[in-house]
């Protein structure tokens, strides 16, 4: 019953990603994405459950007994906002949920609540600002959500707000909101469809990653795997330095990852030092199967792996992510080939993982 897919990205997968990216699921309110995930995975899994936090926990067993239990995690939530205070006449104060840089907020179009009420985070017109004012960044204190003077009662305190970006593509470029981490979710669904038979695959579609890796904590405790892989979406900050080309030394030394250079394999981020045996294994898998890859620059940021590897008695873990530009903003960009290669790399790594990989001392 396993599909023998070559794991190339097909039309079906792209439509699934589109549906997922266009859905609203801010941390703590993942209902819409959870529904799509459940509908997608039910036909081909052995066990499915939704835990008390809303994580979707899925098991697909391999062929045989005492197989390695591999946990794969992708988070369903996106960063967004929450309405916090009603100022009347359709204007509301709001707060961010997850790390959205405040400079990205002014003059954006958004959807509010389950019914996706259209709204605007406005900004003052340039004619009415002074040069001095324009040098200062716009503060959160000055921003308001505007749903129109006649529409205030459609919105309640506590409603979640997302950017109103619609998914679109251009050759190999994909433009959407929430590629972090709907692309991970899409990959995980595909891996479940084509699950390797040499392992027990325990998939966790987690909640609340963006507000502290909350879902991953309980999912890992419940699943208690032998190893874990987080599939996330990591920034590609690969623009040139302002004076690159003029100055012999000037270059962008902190790009994190680069678009088009393949899946990003983590050695370390702020939350996890990947198990070196897993890093070696996936690097070998990429070389043996001719899949390009890059090391995600060690540095800041965390994935669900940071929570997973410390639960119970500890779990050797690694993260492998799709690079994307402008994550946590209204419009992210990623490369279809990077997406495909990430899927392939994880799959080839899983089918070739030796049952005794952890027997070698770390």
């Amino acid at each position: 019953m396993r599909e023998n897919g070559t794991l190339k990205i097909d039309e079906g997968q792209e439509r699934l990603l589109e549906r997922l990216c266009n859905a609203s699921a801010v941390s703590g309110d993942e209902t819409e994405v959870r529904a799509i995930v459940l509908e997608s995975v039910k036909p081909f899994v052995d066990e499915v459950a939704v835990d008390v936090m809303g994580n979707v926990l899925v098991k697909r067993f391999g062929d045989g007994k005492n197989l390695m239990k591999v946990m794969l995690a992708a988070h369903m939530d996106e960063v967004g906002m929450m309405v916090t205070h009603d100022e009347g006449k359709g204007k509301f104060r709001f707060d961010v949920v997850g790390g959205i840089p405040s400079h990205i907020l002014p003059a954006k179009s958004v959807w509010v609540g389950r019914n996706k009420i259209p709204g605007i985070i406005g900004a003052a017109p340039i004619h009415l600002t002074t040069k001095v004012e324009r040098r200062k960044p716009i503060s959160m204190e000055d921003l308001r959500l505007d749903v129109g003077p006649d529409n205030g009662k459609e919105v309640k305190i506590g409603d979640r707000v997302v950017f109103s970006t619609e998914f679109t593509t251009q050759e190999n470029a994909i433009f959407a909101k929430a590629l972090d981490d709907r692309i991970g979710v899409t990959i995980l669904i595909q891996l479940l469809k084509n699950a390797p038979v040499n392992i027990d695959l325990l998939a966790a579609f987690t909640v609340q990653e963006e507000v502290g890796l909350r879902g991953a904590i309980t999912a890992a405790f419940e699943l208690d795997p032998d190893i874990a892989i987080a599939i996330d979406c990591t920034p590609a900050n690969d623009q040139p330095a302002w004076d690159e080309g003029d100055d012999r030394w000037s270059e962008n030394t902190q790009y994190n990852t680069r678009l088009g250079k393949g899946p990003a394999v983590y050695v370390a981020d702020r939350g996890t030092i990947s198990d070196p045996r897993l890093v070696r294994h996936f690097v070998n898998a990429s070389q043996e199967n001719d899949i390009p890859f890059q090391f995600r620059q060690p540095g800041g940021g965390r994935t669900d792996a940071a929570a997973i590897h410390k639960q119970r008695s500890g779990t050797p873990s690694i993260s492998i992510s799709v690079p994307a530009r402008y994550v946590h903003t209204p419009l992210s960009v990623c490369d279809r080939l990077d997406w495909e290669n990430t899927q392939k790399l994880i799959n080839f790594g899983l089918v070739s993982i030796p049952g005794d990989i952890l027997a070698v001392e770390i």
Partner: protein
């Protein structure tokens, strides 16, 4: 014991890459252990003592990992850019000597500071490995390095990199050795745990404790002193004895554990100090939260110049820490 400390300090083992130091520690303690194992994250766990319904399970933890550097980028000119592993002191890096894990030596320096107000950050620094054409160096993103200095013997005092926390490791090793040599009968079940990844956020200790389920936990780690010119105020001095920690950023030591440690020290006439550390934390902070809770405390070794290549301890404090540890493990544990 000096030789032990020196050899422990010289073996590289930055957080996440403790293989070599674990190997050395294992070779030192294997013959003293009743049981020895390595857990999922690489913690080395040595059990020694008596099991049974009457005996308490006590976890003593010292972390094997040290601070270090991880390569983030080889720049246009072939210079090696890096990020710190753990709380590396930035100003202590400039002009310091480092060695990659595979043996390549080098040094750290920095770009010229253009904006006088802002302090130097790690983004401005680089490692120079001395190649004629720097781009010939074989270093890759993800490679790691540590400080490269031999210890300096000053008689009663010792200067070295990685005294945090190889000195704690040494205290545990020496305690185990004396238990064996003096044929000391333990009435409790002691787990000596050499933890991983403490410097990057106390990551190894809680999973280790989860597997052990101790009744009591004590970390052995270094602490700052307040006795150098215009230092941050601190009531701990070098040479005045090991410190019984009252609290730090992540731990309010269980008052019963503190009283117990203090009363044993006083009864055995071992000098000690009381420690309140306003910024800093140890493995005890996460051990205490495991499962249904673990009453926890910390035995601290006073240490100057933490997280620089030249940390300094007083060996008399270290010897007294060993004495105190032995008394704590052999006298009855009474937590009232």
């Amino acid at each position: 014991m000096k030789n032990l400390i020196c050899s422990l300090c010289e073996v590289p083992g930055p957080s996440g890459f403790e293989t070599r130091i674990r190997k050395l520690i294992k070779s030192e303690v294997e013959s003293y252990a009743d049981e020895i194992r390595t857990d999922n994250l690489g913690n080395l766990i040595v059990r020694k003592g008596k099991t049974g319904p009457e005996s308490k399970r006590i976890m003593i933890a010292a972390h094997m990992d040290e601070i270090g550097f991880m390569v983030t980028h080889i720049d246009k000119g072939g210079y090696v850019r890096f990020m710190p592993i753990g709380g590396v002191n930035a100003s202590a890096c400039i002009g310091s000597r480092v060695r990659m894990l595979d043996g390549l030596p080098g040094l750290i320096h920095a770009e010229r500071k253009l904006n006088g107000d802002k302090p130097l950050t790690f983004e401005n620094m680089f490692i120079d490995l001395g190649y004629e054409d720097q781009r010939d160096n074989p270093v890759q993103v993800g490679d790691v390095a540590v400080y490269d200095y031999h210890p300096i013997d000053l008689g009663d005092r010792l200067v070295s990199k990685a005294l945090d926390d190889r000195i704690g490791v040494a205290v545990l090793v020496e305690t185990l050795r004396m238990i064996k040599e003096d044929d000391i009968n333990l009435s409790n079940d002691i787990y000596f745990v050499f933890t991983v990844q403490e410097e990057v956020g106390l990551r190894g200790a809680a999973p280790a404790a989860f597997g052990i389920k101790p009744d009591l936990g004590i970390a052995v780690d270094v602490t700052r002193t307040g006795d150098t010119p215009k230092a941050l105020r601190m009531s701990v001095d070098l040479g005045k004895g090991p410190a019984v920690k009252v609290r730090d950023q992540r731990l309010i030591a269980d008052p019963r554990v503190v009283s117990w440690m203090v009363s044993v020290a006083e009864k055995s006439e071992i000098p000690y100090q009381l420690e309140v550390l306003e910024s800093g934390s140890t493995d005890a902070g996460v051990i205490q939260l495991v499962q249904t809770g673990v009453p926890a405390g910390c035995l601290s070794i006073p240490c100057r110049y933490l997280h620089t290549p030249s940390e300094m301890v007083d060996l008399r404090d270290v010897k007294n820490a060993v004495r105190l540890m032995i008394e704590l493990l052999t006298q009855p544990v009474s937590l009232v």
